[in-house]
């Protein structure tokens, strides 16, 4: 195989990895602050994908236009979920949180099955099949747009946490829960806000993934798992870590598929995860655990 094949595959893996990274970013934000592991993450993404598809079918809106409104819907959903159901669980052991979110995941999957039926659905845009050719390099247009949007969302999120008062308050909660309470921050509200932001992230990722994959109600669990692998690899709670983890997993899977056999490519992703846990348990960009 010639060099350009490797280059094409690597670029494809990089772009897909960025979108995966954005999805994982939501998980990371939620864990970093609320300390709840969102086992219904992929399922929340499928909700966003179905909203995008419904809007597309009804109004013929381009998915990239729907990015902000769908993210907003998911934000509200996340906020309500945290404030209404999850909040009492933040101090409970992990297995209780796990069961709670697994129950939510089961409900989401099957409500989607009842509402939308089992068949895969997708959106067809004018650029669905476009690709750009630069010399021997062929770049998938939808992946390029999606990756660009992923970066934009990540930057916006970073700016929010860095430069706004609410963002600073949320970071304060994450750093010192008791301290935040003492200085009079409304922690419950801030947690719900954070969960909403995480949900908005995965919502945005879902809208972009609609361009790349077809949606079925049972798509969620695979993406939940993927988000975990990425986030742990990059460092749970670290924002740049999620993107780096996404790219690393994306490129590794792509190259492993090319060099070895594609059917075993996810083994390499899990292999990387195991290696990271061994030699840098806090993840590539994670802070050293206390």
């Amino acid at each position: 195989m010639t060099f350009d094949v490797y280059l094409n595959v690597a670029v494809g893996g990089l772009l897909t990895g960025l979108v995966y990274g954005l999805m994982a970013l939501g998980l990371s934000v939620i864990f970093g602050v609320v300390r709840v592991v969102n086992f219904a993450h992929g399922e929340m993404m499928t909700i966003a994908m179905y909203i995008a598809i419904t809007l597309f079918q009804a109004l013929h809106l381009d998915p990239l236009v729907m990015l902000v409104p769908v993210a907003a819907v998911l934000f509200c959903l996340g906020y309500a979920l945290q404030a209404g159901i999850i909040n009492p669980f933040i101090t409970r052991p992990e297995h209780s949180q796990f069961l709670l979110l697994v129950a939510i995941a089961i409900i989401i999957i099957n409500v989607l099955l009842i509402l939308f039926g089992p068949d895969a659905q997708s959106v067809q845009t004018s650029y669905s099949y476009d690709s750009f050719q630069v010399g021997k390099l062929i770049v998938d247009a939808t992946k390029l747009y999606a990756a660009g949007a992923a970066l934009a969302v990540a930057v916006a999120l970073y700016a929010f946490f860095r430069f706004t008062a609410i963002g600073t308050a949320i970071r304060a909660c994450a750093d010192n829960y008791t301290g935040a309470l003492v200085v009079g921050l409304d922690v419950k509200h801030l947690y719900a806000l954070t969960f909403g932001l995480g949900a908005a992230c995965v919502g945005a990722a879902g809208v972009m993934l609609v361009l790349i994959v077809d949606v079925t109600p049972s798509l969620g669990p695979a993406y939940t798992l993927l988000a975990f692998v990425i986030v742990i690899t990059g460092g749970l709670g670290s924002m740049p870590g999620a993107l780096i983890g996404g790219v690393l997993i994306g490129v590794t899977e792509a190259m492993a598929g090319l060099i070895f056999t594609p059917s075993a490519k996810s083994m390499f992703a899990f292999g990387i995860l195991v290696l990271v846990l061994l030699f840098r348990p806090q993840g590539i960009m994670g802070k050293k655990a206390a």
Binding site: H95, F98, A105, I106, L113
Partner: protein, 334 residues
Amino acid sequence: MFARLFENVSRRTLVLLGVLLVGMFGAPLVASDYLLTVLILILYFAYIGQAWNIMMGFAGQLSLGHALYVGLGAYTAAALYVHFGIGPWLGLLVAVPVAALAGAFIGFLAFRFKVGGVYFAILTIAVAEFARVGFDHLSWTKGSSGLFLPVAQYTHNDLWLLRGQPVMFYYVLLVATVLAFVFCRALLKSRIGYFWLAIREDETAARSAGIDTFRYKMIAVVISASMTSFAGVIYAFYYNNLFPEQVFHISRSIEIILGPIVGGVGTLFGPIIGAFLLTGMSETLIAALAALGVDLPGAKQVFYGICLLLVIMALPDGVWPWLSRRIGLTEREK
């Protein structure tokens, strides 16, 4: 040793246990074949739940990848039977060490590097998924095309080769569940059990009290993995076909641990109650929806999810701690 098992057990508990035991041993006499199948499922999940509970409930290590040990046990015993005609009980001599080794491997990796909590949980998922894809490519066990055991004609029950009717599997699983229960009780009453609880409650404190936490966490993983692999062997000989996509799948791991969490993590009755509740609830929901004339795929799972949600919101510690208080049993194990 034996006497200590009954230490601090109220008469009421003993009576209850006795009634339950007699009921379970007598059940096949009255149960329909359908009910028997459901009971087999319940016992299967109760047994594995008990094994999982050793790791999570006793030693505080959250494993989300127990399907790995089920799968290793199942595949090892089935492959030995298919390739060499080695029966399941002899096969256990290989299957259990294989699963124990896998458990030790995960434990060694994790505990040496102080990987705990969510990280440990994800590591267990990762290894199970690794195994799933790996077995998809392992031609000795027929890869993803599935390993089929020759199916017996059902004229008689051959306990030695585990070829026969469901009622045989029922009793094998029932005995296994009872033994697991007794074994877990003994573990809890032993030094190891106290060390585990100390680790679960506060690992740093346990270490400073001089407990070799690495060693005792390793013991928990290895015991749990070994016990779980036995269930895998039964699974293989009960269903007679294995597919990596089925036995190693993460959804199997999740199914395994729902029971003990709902029943009550760290309690001896929790996994059993949980298995009864969840499997029973599942079958009841199907029957109820059918009775209402609702034939809507997915509806049952929605209600199932809602029930799970309500249970965990109302009883965060699980059903058993609440139930035992209600019926006036002392639950000393906790």
